[in-house]
């Protein structure tokens, strides 16, 4: 049994939704409301837009409303797709079978700031930058900062189990969300944490349900409230970039920095040769760089001023130990501050003749161990070259490798290869080519013992087919959980091959 697509809803269902919502303008059936909630920044089959529209959109304000909507959907067997910011680099918030879209942007309240036990409780529709603007006056900070920091919303961060640029110092979304409220696929409203306790960070009671629902991609319910960690606002930050003429030297430099024991180290970023080539096109810090530069290591420290000041001296030595050259204070300050915009700044792709073409951004986000990065880089680059040659609508924007572990900078890395796609030129053949391209890249990650996604999720075509392979025996457990919690397969159906849960 799988859920059938529902691309239109009848007047009776709209009337029921309106009765649940009881607010003018909160049940939207117009084509503009539906068309504008079909895509996210992940590559989109533009030529098949209409297939990805929800049938109806609701804008709830309370968990009770969400619960009633889900109960209705169960009764009439209509798919439900939650949407927060719609900024994911996966397509979790893209409907595959129409249905009811539950858009949580109106649930953006700050319910409580608890400075004694150090939490803030919010709705899923709040953005982290906006939250931190409010928190500044209390001297505290919620340090979940992806490249989409100015636009992604807390609900989506939980649904994707997000990654933060400062995660090695402060943790990632799963570490920073203490507990959350979720409406289950059958409509019950529950709160999940490590154990019980809304503000308890460590527990050994029961199963750790927070971790089950973290990264649910909308397939196990809708988050309606979250209690988040508050950390002291950093007194000082320090950033430094080091340039190399050899990727191996840069790669070893990262090892030296992350194993140094510097506790204020918030992250390192390794840039490969194609990335430098890409940045030389339009980034004012890279345009004037001498030709020998083909790799960069970027680093940043956050903490109290005495800690950061002392650690920065150590960091400056470590950055140079394998031949790195400091790129100067101006770049350290300017380029670190541009990390959100620049790292999310696609669009200006280049065709083979060098001319500029408008492209969409695919960001492969594997989790890889340090040792395998050089091999993976070679294989990914070769795959990209092959597809660029064949289709002429792709562009290789190079690789970043970011520290990926929480509260510690060593071990594994979020390795991303950024690929530009000229979506306007997509047809069925080139879209199929793109999915193969994506799949080949993901298979390399699996071949080297990695995970195909560190933070975006595995719902994309080209990833979804590989989830069972990565999960091994755990895949069967996932299917049982899915079928138990969502007996009618209404929550975000069609994602991650989870339809298999209902095939028997």
């Amino acid at each position: 049994m799988t859920t059938a697509p529902v691309m239109t809803v009848d007047a009776a269902i709209v009337a029921e939704l309106e009765a649940i919502m009881n607010e003018p303008g909160s049940v939207l059936t117009g084509v503009s409301s539906r068309a504008n909630r079909a895509r996210v920044p992940a590559p989109f089959p533009l030529h098949r837009w209409a297939e990805h529209m929800p049938a109806v959109v609701v804008l709830p304000r309370t968990a009770e409303q969400v619960s009633e909507i889900i109960k209705l959907a169960n009764r009439v067997k209509i798919p439900v797709v939650p949407r927060a910011g719609g900024t994911g680099l996966n397509d979790g918030a893209v409907p595959l079978r129409g249905g009811i879209m539950v858009d949580v942007k109106r649930m953006n309240q700050i319910h409580e700031v608890d400075l004694a036990d150090r939490t803030v409780t919010v709705g899923p529709g709040i953005n982290m930058l906006k939250l931190n603007e409010e928190l500044k006056k209390y001297g505290v900070f919620y340090p979940d900062t992806p490249a989409s920091y100015p636009c992604s919303l807390v609900g989506g961060r939980i649904a994707c189990s997000g990654w933060s640029l400062l995660g090695s110092r402060f943790g990632h979304t799963r570490d920073l969300v203490v507990s959350f409220e979720i409406v289950l696929p059958t409509g019950e409203i529950i709160r999940v944490g490590d154990g019980g306790g809304k503000k308890v960070r460590k527990s050994s009671t029961g199963y750790h349900l927070k971790h089950l629902f973290m990264g649910h991609q909308g397939t196990l319910g809708i988050v309606t409230e979250a209690t988040l960690e508050l950390v002291p606002r950093p007194e000082a930050e320090f950033a430094a970039f080091f340039a190399f003429d050899d990727f191996g030297n840069a790669h070893r430099t990262v090892y030296g920095i992350v194993t140094s024991g510097i506790a204020t180290l918030a992250g390192t970023v390794l840039f490969d040769e194609k990335k430098i080539e890409y940045l030389r096109r339009d980034d004012e810090a890279f345009i004037p760089m001498p030709p020998w530069v083909n790799s960069i290591v970027a680093t940043a420290l956050y903490g109290t001023k005495p800690e950061v000041r002392e650690a920065s001296k150590l960091l400056m030595d470590l950055g140079r130990k394998e031949g790195g050259r400091y790129t100067g204070d101006e770049m350290a300050v300017g380029d670190w501050a541009s990390r959100h915009d620049r790292y999310a700044n696609p669009l200006h792709g280049r065709l083979k003749d060098g001319t500029v073409a408008p492209m969409s951004w695919h960001c492969e986000d594997a989790s890889l161990n340090w040792t395998v990065i050089p091999k993976v880089r070679e294989e990914w680059t070769a795959i990209a070259d092959r597809y660029i040659d064949k289709f002429g609508i792709f562009d290789n924007w190079g690789i970043y490798c970011y520290t990926n572990a929480a509260y510690k900078p060593w071990g594994d890395y979020l390795a991303e290869i950024d690929i530009g796609i000229w979506e306007e030129k997509l047809d069925d053949e080139s879209w199929a080519g793109w999915v193969d391209f994506k799949s080949e890249i993901a298979k390399v990650s699996l071949k080297y013992g990695g995970s195909i996604t560190a933070c975006h999720g595995s719902t994309r075509a080209g990833d979804a087919e590989l989830v069972s392979e990565e999960m091994g025996g755990g895949w069967d457990v996932m299917l049982k959980i899915k079928r138990t919690l969502d007996p009618n397969n209404i929550m975000n159906p069609g994602k991650q091959m989870l339809d298999q849960a209902y095939e028997s």
Partner: protein, 110 residues
């Protein structure tokens, strides 16, 4: 005080090439206009708009620093890129293990 005068806004000085694909005009990097116009058009941007974007970008970057920490520290050292690449230490580093880090194949219950 800025005075808006049409001819000062829309007449652009000649550019100098600085690299493949990049020119410099008014001490400011721009894409080589020859790479534009085939699939991606340039706009008739007045001078004030270019300057405004540059100023706002710098202000925004400063804002980001202040948003994340009370104070931004720097090394206080010159850029070293003119020296060419440095010498690696030659120290040994761990290498990729022969034994795969992957989980063993699952034993499925059916």
């Amino acid at each position: 005080m800025r005075r808006f005068v049409y001819m000062q806004q829309y007449v652009r000085p000649e550019a100098t090439r600085v690299s493949d694909g990049v020119v410099i005009r008014l001490k400011h990097y721009e894409v080589d206009p020859e790479l534009m116009g085939q699939q991606f058009d340039q706009q008739d941007m007045p001078a004030w708009d270019t300057l405004r974007i540059v100023d706002d970008r710098n202000d925004h970057l400063n804002w980001m620093h202040e948003h994340f920490a009370d104070e931004t520290l720097v090394a206080g050292q010159e850029a070293e890129l003119d020296l060419g690449a440095g010498q690696p230490s030659g120290e040994p580093y761990p290498t990729l293990s022969e034994v795969s880090a992957r989980h063993p194949k699952p034993i499925l219950p059916y």
